[in-house]
């Protein structure tokens, strides 16, 4: 019953309407790269938008014509899966400032003909939502049946619900938080310092210098990766297992966990060729996200303007955005008498759990998506 959507291909929308950004900059034109799966129904009521996490992109399901190219949420999107492509038209775009097709620091600035690099404006969640709203209009979708996202994507979902209440019916906020804690920001800052102090960073102009700050980026990824895993999970996966069976009393890789982290960092910085400036921008966008700030620091007031129905999901071992952070969102929604469902999933996989198989998670996700599908299928 559950299979992959199969071979998919990205598309790019070139937007010529300028985007006025929160930081004060204006992007005269930009590209948004996205993928779609499934069929948009006659009244365009079955469209769902997926918002990706920090290092994610628009390739959320299916695969390309190459090895190991499966989308990052293939587990949950496809025919017969919780986000059922037989019933939904699924859209996911690469966030502005990204490095997988949408305009970002690694793109050529059409105004100057040079690589943007550090000159790409600082992006925020609001800017992403505003640019995605252009894509929505272009695709002929009056309102999303649902906007769905995990982690940073979950914050973007909240932004959608606040900024365009009439443009979505359901908001699925998974493993997210209403704002970053001091600890969250601190982790981001260490990651940024790792990148920016790499000698190959060249004040962000590393592409022109013909290099990349690989070491800094790998370190940033290692640190980030740590915050995605739980202590328990690392304990059961690696323990104190040694790579060569005995201690060597030197600074080579000795423990398996060291080897694993180095591999993750290397893969991110070299094979995936993630742009270091994009990493900086994404972490900044996370730091800045704080919708309550404009409403006397009341999240309830910030969410008062929303009309979407919410599903909020957290994972017990997630310490990056713990269940308590999701409960803050739930509480703010309850203060508004909003329609909200909250599930706290028992998992040992930490923050990463939102990407992994889990019977309870899948059960809630599937049941909720079926409810949404029933709404538009009833009308049709």
């Amino acid at each position: 019953m559950s299979e992959s959507i199969g071979l998919v291909a990205p598309e790019t929308l070139h937007v010529t309407t300028p985007l006025d950004m929160v930081c004060g900059a204006r992007l005269p034109q930009y590209d948004l790269t996205y993928e779609t799966y499934g069929q948009l129904n006659a009244d365009a009521s079955n469209a769902v938008l997926i918002c990706h996490a920090l290092s994610g992109n628009h390739h959320v399901a299916g695969h390309y014509d190459e090895e190991k190219s499966q989308g990052w949420w293939d587990q949950y999107i496809g025919p017969g899966k919780p986000i059922d492509t037989n019933r939904f038209f699924v859209v996911c775009s690469n966030n502005l400032g990204g490095c997988h097709g949408s305009s970002g620091p690694a793109s050529i600035n059409p105004e100057t003909g040079d690589v943007f690099g550090p000159d790409f404006p600082i992006v925020t969640c609001k800017d992403w939502v505003n640019s995605q709203n252009v894509l929505r209009d272009y695709l002929g979708i009056d309102a999303w049946a649902a906007v769905i996202g995990g982690s940073m994507g979950g914050m973007q979902v909240m932004q959608w619900a606040m900024d365009y209440p009439d443009r979505l019916r359901h908001a699925l906020v998974i493993a997210a938080a209403p704002k970053l804690s001091a600890q969250n920001i601190a982790f981001n800052e260490v990651a940024r310092r790792a990148i920016m102090t790499d000698p190959e960073f060249h004040h962000g102009r590393f592409i022109e210098a013909g290099t990349t700050p690989k070491r800094g980026l790998a370190l940033a990824r290692m640190l980030g990766h740590l915050t995605y895993l739980s202590d328990d999970m690392m304990g059961s996966k690696f323990g104190r297992e040694l790579r060569e069976g005995k201690l060597k009393y030197n600074f080579d890789v000795e423990f398996q966990v060291e080897s694993y982290l180095r591999y993750q960092g290397e893969k991110f910085a070299t094979k995936q060729n993630f742009d270091a400036n994009t990493y900086l921008l994404m972490t900044k966008a996370l730091d800045y996200f704080d919708p309550a700030a404009e409403f006397d620091n009341s999240l309830a007031k910030a969410l008062a303007q929303t009309t979407a129905k919410f599903l909020v999901i957290s994972f017990t071992s997630d310490w990056r955005f713990s269940p308590k952070r999701s409960q803050e969102i739930v509480k703010a929604l309850l203060d508004n008498d909003a329609d909200v469902t909250y599930a706290e999933i028992n998992s040992k996989h930490g923050h990463d759990a939102f990407l992994l198989p889990n019977a309870h998670y899948e059960g809630v996700f599937r049941a909720y998506m079926q409810r949404i599908a029933a709404e538009h299928e009833e009308v049709a």
Partner: protein, 210 residues
């Protein structure tokens, strides 16, 4: 939360009789949301259910219920809801499984104007007989679990409950006593604490004395 009896439909009917149309309802230990769905259909109520069991949470989502997954023993109720947020806070067949039923009552009557509570009567004659003649903790259709492995850690009698209400200045607005098939019998009226198997209570805080 485990419910004691499998078919609660008649109990739901009895509860629905007490619910005013368009009321705001919180169902604690809402299970798969059957009662809330029933009240939404027949009384046009709005509100939420709270449930801990993952499978039942999925069931409630399937029914289209706004369910908040939560452990009722963790004082989430007062954390999530302000005073008098609901017209009714309902707890069916679950008071005896929470760690402090007295505090639960306080919480229920804090966030709700009224509470509706149903629970099995430990003083039913069959339970008394098992204890008196058999010298053993009762085990029967309405109390199916052995003493060492039961969610029912705070079983009480109708008299116990009413005494607790008295102590706490809680007013019993209405009471319905029924047998395990949720039918009242004539004799129950005279000896409810002997003959009643399940009670439904509607309670509220007594008005402040001036």
């Amino acid at each position: 939360m485990d419910r004691l009896t499998s078919d609660l439909t008649p109990e739901f009917e009895l509860i629905a009789d007490w619910i005013a149309p368009n009321a705001r309802v919180l169902d604690l230990g809402c299970g798969d949301g059957k009662l809330l769905a029933h009240l939404q259909r027949t009384r046009q109520t709005t509100g939420y259910g709270m449930e801990l069991d993952p499978k039942k949470v999925v069931g409630a989502v399937e029914r289209g219920i706004n369910v908040i997954q939560s452990n009722l023993n963790s004082h989430d109720i007062c954390h999530y809801f302000d005073q008098d947020s609901f017209d009714y806070v309902i707890m069916t067949q679950a008071l005896q499984v929470v760690s402090r039923p007295d505090r639960m009552l306080d919480e229920m009557l804090s966030v709700g104007k009224q509470s509706i509570i149903t629970f099995p009567n430990f003083a039913h004659w069959r339970n008394r007989a098992q204890l008196f003649f058999g010298g053993k903790m009762p085990q029967n259709t309405s109390l199916p679990n052995p003493w060492y492995n039961t969610p029912n850690i705070h079983l009480c009698t109708f008299s116990d409950f009413e005494n607790l209400c008295e102590e706490k200045d809680i007013e019993v607005v209405a009471r319905t006593v029924v047998n395990s098939k949720h039918q009242p019998t004539f004799a129950m009226r005279f000896a409810p604490n002997w003959l009643g198997e399940i009670a439904l209570y509607q309670v509220q805080r007594k008005p402040e004395k001036i």
